[in-house]
Symmetry: C2
Subunit: 391 residues, 2 copies
């Protein structure tokens, strides 16, 4: 049975109440100082209304907004008494429900996202489930993410689903596939299918390549690994040698241009690109779309919330995957230096020593978490906070 | 259990056999004279390999290629003895299987498309299923499609799923929605939800508007109808008055530009657009993507094979839906005359009288099927063939 709440809303809202809520919405959006403005605040309230109680992380995933933004808006909404925090997550107050039903005119609470495929449109069968289980073991052996080069590891589910999507679209069997950067280890499930003609990985991080090499040896599959800084053109023997590329580049316009352009070198005039990328504010996404279009790629498919990443609550996020088809491709490289988010928007990260609990700063004197050793001798850390440096 | 067929393929293919298949693929693509070339032929063979026996219509849906193209390639592949036609549809011959397994390196036959949501990512719940059932009754009352203005009716499932998607993304409840052309009758399920703040339809076809008005009266819902030729700017009272627009425009670049631009007039500087559009060859889709980008829309989501249409086998096809978000929108209108496909690529359609079986030509002397009356007095016709006029 459907539940309709708030039938009383329409028409019975007082003029001054409407004005009050309108001013409130404006003020929350302004205080939060976010690119998407009122729409983002509306989205957050709608997601809470439909799914309450709900964790901040889940709100971020469902609204596709960055977690720090959601946390900020949530705090402001708490202060305005629109919502309250309970043990089980955020819930709307009576005022919040009034706001949702009388002003935003929400009334229906069900989610229609397919629970079988989680909105991805494809499902794993036994063959791919088996691959996923084998990938999980290896994913645990990954080194610590080097955030200075925007590493952030996709879950084993994510990498396996990517390969399943490639299979489903005819981009796996008999194809030569290059992973342009592969900290997500998507080459692992790809190799385990035994369907591709060739699988190769270029990455700057030797640790990732070594893990892939070890995997190949143990699992008896073939993955070509090439250590390479993508700021430089691809080695000649990789040029015009692939049918398909896959990349999850740094989430900056220059990062995307560089990684996709190296991908184009590998494809030649035509080919398929799987692009995983962050749900960006409209302005930024528009310049990305322009760059993609200029390179000669069409977006033949774009699935939001396809990719999920491992890590602390702070960076837990979700990104989309797009299947691009190119026919008359041309590289378009921007500034090859400022490709990582940390270089565009410097960030300080706070890590907690898992042994003694001491908090360490990373991003100024200590550049990356890998260089961190605690006074207690602890070498394992968990990120607990992230801050942008004001320039 | 997974089935792997063709394990023997890899490595055991003779050099001359490989050359033979390569030449064959080139020659089929060339004979078919299709924009997507070899890739399209590969896609067709892969879909048959995975789903055989399979009807031509299903091949067209799964490859997203136009039905006449698929029919043409199928005929050539038959002539080349790659496939045979059985009562149950197309099947690969022994040579075809060799081609698929040894040359294209296909081996796995399962489809991973989610069978619950059919790849759309969303499902209807009881509330929306109920709406679908009510829409079905009204869809039967539609007039005959006027193909000179590119009418082609989406199924009731399609229009209901569109509205479900709008709901899921937060673009329905409390929103003012304009349908820029609505031969698909998507305004019907939208109105039946009782969730929108306002629903309006502009269309050039009085028959469609009258049906919508009759529907509104009988079902007790409110849909504003405006008869309007979109070649002219929107009436002033529709300008900057909507949050969301939805359109399934003529599948020409000028048609898309015109309909989206009128949509922008309705939205003002920012808003959401649901665009349903045909899977076009890359070159054409690239100019569409450019136009969309120039107008200021980002493609936040693009779901292939979302829309299905009613009609004879000949025009049975599938299109995608894209959710566009605009922030600093500006209209971009091209040639406002050549907006319909028939004006860009003149077509002759052949209709069969359902009473006496006589075949009639439509497109030259007789411009549209509506003007057709058979000598036997028959007034109902079924399209049986379509031909492009060579210019």
């Amino acid at each position: 049975m459907m539940k309709i709440i708030g039938k009383m809303g329409k028409g019975k809202i007082y003029r001054d109440e409407k004005a009050k809520f309108s001013i409130l919405l404006d003020s929350v959006a302004k205080k939060a100082d976010i690119a998407e403005g009122k729409r983002a605040v509306e989205d957050i309230i709608r997601v809470i209304y439909r799914h309450q109680p709900i964790s901040t992380k889940k709100i971020a995933q469902k609204t596709r907004l960055p977690l720090p933004i959601v946390a900020k808006v949530r705090t402001i909404l708490e202060r305005e008494r629109i919502l309250k925090r309970t043990e089980r997550g955020a819930e709307l107050t009576e005022l919040g429900i009034e706001f949702a039903e009388n002003f935003l005119k929400l009334k229906y609470k069900k989610s229609l996202t397919c629970s079988v495929c989680n909105g991805r449109g494809i499902v794993l069968d036994e063959f791919f489930e088996d691959i996923l289980n084998r990938v999980k073991v290896w994913a645990k052996k990954r080194p610590l993410a080097n955030t200075t080069i925007d590493q952030s590891f996709a879950t084993p589910e994510t990498s396996t689903y990517r390969v399943a999507l490639m299979y489903e679209r005819g981009d796996l069997e008999g194809k030569r596939i290059l992973f342009v950067g592969d900290d997500d280890l998507t080459s692992l499930p790809a190799a385990l299918t035994n369907m591709a003609e060739e699988i190769a990985v270029v990455d700057i991080d030797e640790r990732i390549l070594k893990l892939i090499e070890k995997f190949s040896q143990k699992e008896g599959v073939k993955i070509r690994t090439i250590k390479h800084n993508l700021r430089n053109p691809l080695p000649d023997d990789l040029k015009e040698s692939f049918d398909v590329i896959s990349t999850d580049p740094p989430y900056t316009v220059n990062g995307l241009k560089l990684f996709l352009s190296r991908g184009i070198e590998a494809l030649g005039k035509e080919g398929i690109a799987y692009l995983s990328y962050s749900h960006k504010p409209i302005d930024e996404w528009l310049s990305i779309q322009k760059a993609i279009t200029n390179m000669g790629f069409v977006i033949s498919e774009l699935i939001p919330n396809f990719n999920y990443y491992e890590g602390s609550e702070i960076i837990a996020n979700t990104t989309f995957i797009a299947r691009l088809i190119g026919r008359d491709l041309k590289a378009e490289i921007g500034d090859t230096e400022k490709i990582y988010t940390g270089l565009v928007k410097p960030v300080i990260r706070y890590y907690k020593c898992l042994k003694c609990g001491k908090i360490h700063k990373v991003g100024e004197e200590v550049k990356k978490v890998e260089d961190l050793v605690c006074e207690c001798g602890g070498k394992k850390f968990k990120m607990v906070k992230r801050e942008k440096i004001k320039e």
